[in-house]
Amino acid sequence: MPRLSAATQHRVTFTLNGRTVSLDAQPRLLATDALRHGLGATGTHVGCEHGVCGACTIQIDGQPARACLTLAVQLEGKEVTTVEGLAPERDRLSVMQAAFRRHHALQCGFCTAGILVSLDAYLREEPSPSEQELREVLSGHLCRCTGYTQMIRAALEAAACLRGEPLPQTLEPADV
């Protein structure tokens, strides 16, 4: 059984947003700090560091996870997606990100990274969520600006858009 000793650094290799990455980590290193300090991927935010606020939510093999409740060594061999991996290409927003922008669904933006990552995972599982279901997903996130209503609107519209339904007429194609 491989045993990683507390005092030494161990090579951890995983896929981050489609790219293979490696870093050296002590067993006690949290995934949040591995991403932000070890790899410079600062899109994942750190709020409470005990799993309550949801700001650090990432996806591990497509499932949501609190990065602050995950050890870097637990990422070995996994597929990790962070907010940096949601946009299809540079300078283009994902459907959900664009909907957040249209609906002013972020204010200070601190909680937004985790929320986008959660909703991305949830819509893959449930492409036609009800408002109530989305509220329950968002109950795993704290927004101290309290802008939940706009987030729900944005998520419902993004879900409709991802299902291929026509967008509201007021939208310009460039907005999408």
Binding site: P27, A65, L69, T70, S139, G140
Partner: protein, 275 residues
């Protein structure tokens, strides 16, 4: 908030995990989903010197049936049990309680057995185990044993598990014909820790009510089929026996009130659900 230093091992099979536990005892902790353990480590309420990761062990992630028992091994995540096809018919209490267990994001990682091992007095899994009179299956290098849920939870985050034991599985009795099941909870926000959680099981000749969030562990009482003031008197006596405490979230008095009112409505719903 960062954990204190520890060694980390990945058990390739159960035998390796048991060896490591028998070697390190109280210094070691099993890590599965980590949703209860990591907050304890981050806040340094727990400072184990060795973590034994069991999530790489093959076969621990499949829910099985043994007669009328639903057997949930140590690697089964809460979300996986919640998505089990037919769970609402197989055991409606579990299907009703699981959506209240933490949030979508934590259920995707946290395990059912991990929640039992953590033994938070307000937690849903211990409550369901106690309400259904389920069992906790423990294993060490020395022996295997099965403990009834009522005996397993012995206090606030304290269980009957010895330092060299791990929870191999928990077993929930499946729904029986003619029996009704119901679950209700009051929390600040959906998914937060329960202020009071109630689970009721009503058969043809008895009513069982289990309550979480009031005493130092989930508590279950059995009554004959009562109605009207006999039932409210019995619930009042139960509420007063439970040694409710004040804390940041609620007063002892509110908790007793919830045992009476939420308990009554949970029993009522279970009665109506008797098939």
């Amino acid at each position: 908030m960062k954990p204190a230093a520890f060694d980390y091992t990945r058990a390739g099979d159960l035998s390796e995990a048991l060896d490591a536990l028998s070697q390190h005892g109280a210094e070691a902790r099993i890590i599965a989903g980590g949703q209860s353990l990591l907050p304890m480590l981050n806040m340094r309420l727990a400072k184990p010197t060795v973590l034994i990761d069991i999530m790489g062990i093959a076969g621990l992630d499949r829910v099985g049936r043994e007669g009328d028992l639903i057997v949930v091994p140590a690697g089964v995540r809460q979300a996986a049990l919640m998505k089990r096809p037919g769970l609402a018919g197989e055991q409606p209490l579990l299907a009703a309680a699981l959506p209240w267990l933490g949030h979508y994001q934590t259920r995707a990682r946290g395990t059912v057995c991990g929640s039992a091992a953590h033994a938070d007095p307000s937690a849903e899994i211990p409550l369901c185990l106690v309400a259904l009179d389920g069992e906790v299956r423990l294993r060490s290098r020395r022996k295997r044993r099965s403990v009834s849920a009522g005996d397993f939870f012995s206090g606030m985050m304290v269980t009957d598990k010895a330092d060299d034991e791990l929870i191999e599985a928990v077993a929930f009795p499946a729904a029986r014909p003619g029996t009704g099941y119901a679950f209700k909870e009051v929390a600040r926000r959906h998914g937060d820790f329960a202020i009071v959680g109630c689970a009721a099981v009503v058969t043809r000749d008895a009513m069982h009510l289990a309550v979480a969030g009031v005493a130092d562990r989930p508590q279950r009482r059995s009554f004959p089929l009562l109605e009207g003031s006999a039932l409210t008197d019995a619930l009042n006596a139960f509420a007063c026996e439970l040694d409710a405490r004040d804390d940041f979230h609620a007063t002892a008095r509110l908790r007793r009130d919830l045992v009476r009112s939420l308990g009554l409505s949970t029993i009522g719903e279970a009665k109506r659900c008797r098939a």
